[in-house]
Subunit: 310 residues, 2 copies
């Protein structure tokens, strides 16, 4: 059967949106719940959840039909992981947009959370979304095996914390007006956006029977995820220069305005474009050598990351 990303994504997005709408509370003390739903349910491409579910799909394809009794449990675990990843992403946007950080008033074409609900509520909203991510990963053990819960929390906390996203944002903060080398810029992005994208893949891979993920597969998926994460950021920097605010749904040209180093400022526009191509190649080569029988969804998502217009 021919795999079509658009069909697969459409099905997965229905599951993701339903799950997020069910799991992000509306009642949570004053208008905290309202702000959380505003932050999470306001659209977005859901790249992180899709990447997690695409990896789970590859793991499911490894197992012969006869051994699929546990597939439903792991599919549900992956859906929880997918939503948890989106919650971490959403919280980081809420806090990033605040006046003391990027001071952005527009996100996906709508007022940012602090504009809509005030700064104090935006702060709490982000805090509560981070906690909710870990709550989604730790339901009753009858729903998700404890081994998988622990592994998911381990990946997510490391990716979100000081050695990952938060650490990368701190470097980003201190790099305004600074001249970074390509190595330094890559390290910053590997933490700031790469770590969470890497976690998407590794968490999707964790949702499987013990021992199914071989060291070769894990290593290949990790290489794929790192190349994809870096390509994502290179394309982001390119779009910040060549796109417009309406297409992108957020303010363009703000990196240059804030004197932030980017791959475009470092390599030039065409240099950045060919760098993103070589990362794309690296991601696909890793999938081919992974030993995974079906990597179609992962491969197609790499296409999307490179070719996206927003």
């Amino acid at each position: 059967m021919v795999f079509e990303l658009s069909n697969w994504s459409r099905e997965q997005l229905v599951l993701i949106e339903q799950a997020l709408s069910e799991w992000v509370p509306s009642q949570a003390g004053a208008n905290l719940g309202e702000s959380m739903r505003y932050a999470v349910l306001g659209g977005g491409k859901r790249l992180r959840p899709l990447l997690c579910l695409a990896t789970r799909r590859s793991m499911r394809m490894q197992v012969p039909e006869a051994a699929m009794a546990s597939a439903h449990v792991f599919d549900q675990a992956a859906l929880r992981a997918a939503c948890a990843l989106e919650l971490i992403h959403a919280y980081s946007l809420v806090h990033d947009d605040m006046p003391c950080m990027d001071d952005d008033v527009l996100r996906r074409g709508l007022p940012t959370v602090h504009v809509q609900f005030g700064q104090a509520m935006a702060l709490l909203c982000g805090d509560a979304l981070q906690a909710l991510a870990f709550e989604l990963l730790t339901p009753s053990e009858s729903l998700v095996p404890a081994r998988v819960q622990a592994s998911l929390c381990r990946h997510l906390s490391q990716a979100a914390g000081y050695a990952g996203m938060a650490g990368g944002q701190a470097i980003d903060l201190s790099s305004v007006g600074a001249t970074l080398t390509q190595v330094q810029l890559q390290e910053m992005h590997a933490k700031k956006t790469g770590a969470l994208l890497h976690a998407c893949v590794m968490m999707g891979a964790s949702c499987a029977d013990e021992g199914l993920l071989s060291p070769t597969m894990a290593s290949a998926l990790s290489t794929y995820a790192k190349a994809l994460g870096l390509a994502f950021q290179v394309v982001d920097d390119i779009l910040d220069v060549i796109s417009d605010t309406k297409t992108l749904g957020k303010t363009v040209g703000k990196d240059a305005a804030h004197e932030k180093p980017t791959f475009v400022s470092l390599l030039g526009l065409s240099g950045a474009q060919s760098y993103s191509q070589s990362l794309y190649q690296e991601a696909n080569d890793a999938l081919l050598g992974s030993g995974l029988k079906d990597v179609q969804a992962l491969s197609a998502l790499a296409d999307v990351v490179i070719k996206r217009k927003s």
Copy 2:
């Protein structure tokens, strides 16, 4: 052997401070690590870690000497839980002190994190501390069994999130200048400070062999924790009125200045004092009926909460 809280606490505090100093990173991107260590290692009574370790102590005392082979694993798990709880508490203080929330410049007699490191870094500092809490709870399975890791993350995420601490803070925000009933005030505090104190006890109780925590014990510990948590807040409100800034190490009288409802404004000073006594009684009665053989540390901590001067 007679139990002395001061001796026991001194020993535990050495372990807690060593562990926090080891686990809170100094290198974490720009000065993020420095801000995290400033927020966490700057003193504090460590009530939450002590409460967690006191509960673990009661669980250990249930098991005959012969079956203590696993005690070390669970002691280490409890130390991780204790530190994770302190990290969540510390992050909440960092975010609470920010200008958009309580706008406080003094904490434990020192400049608050945003005064010292700037608002953007304070925001990231709190975010990274929350992630680190879950990272501490999810080490290799050779250190802590997956079942315990999942249980600890479950308790902590629920206590920190929308139905716990963050939700309580949202209610608190919206209650400025409002007249709350005693029931509403209790509900707000049950979430804002009570949920995390409750988690301290339940997480300490989770660090034990499967099945050791009977339903009677779990229920009694839960009642103890809820009464203690409420008593803690009632005493906090009393101290905000009768103490001075030097003794308390933070600005006094700020509840009245911010027109926040308190147990003192609702019940009067003597009414609040007798209410704290009745909660103390309730906490101790629960311990007596718990079926736990040794509750001396837990009982002594209830004393400390009621009699504290700061």
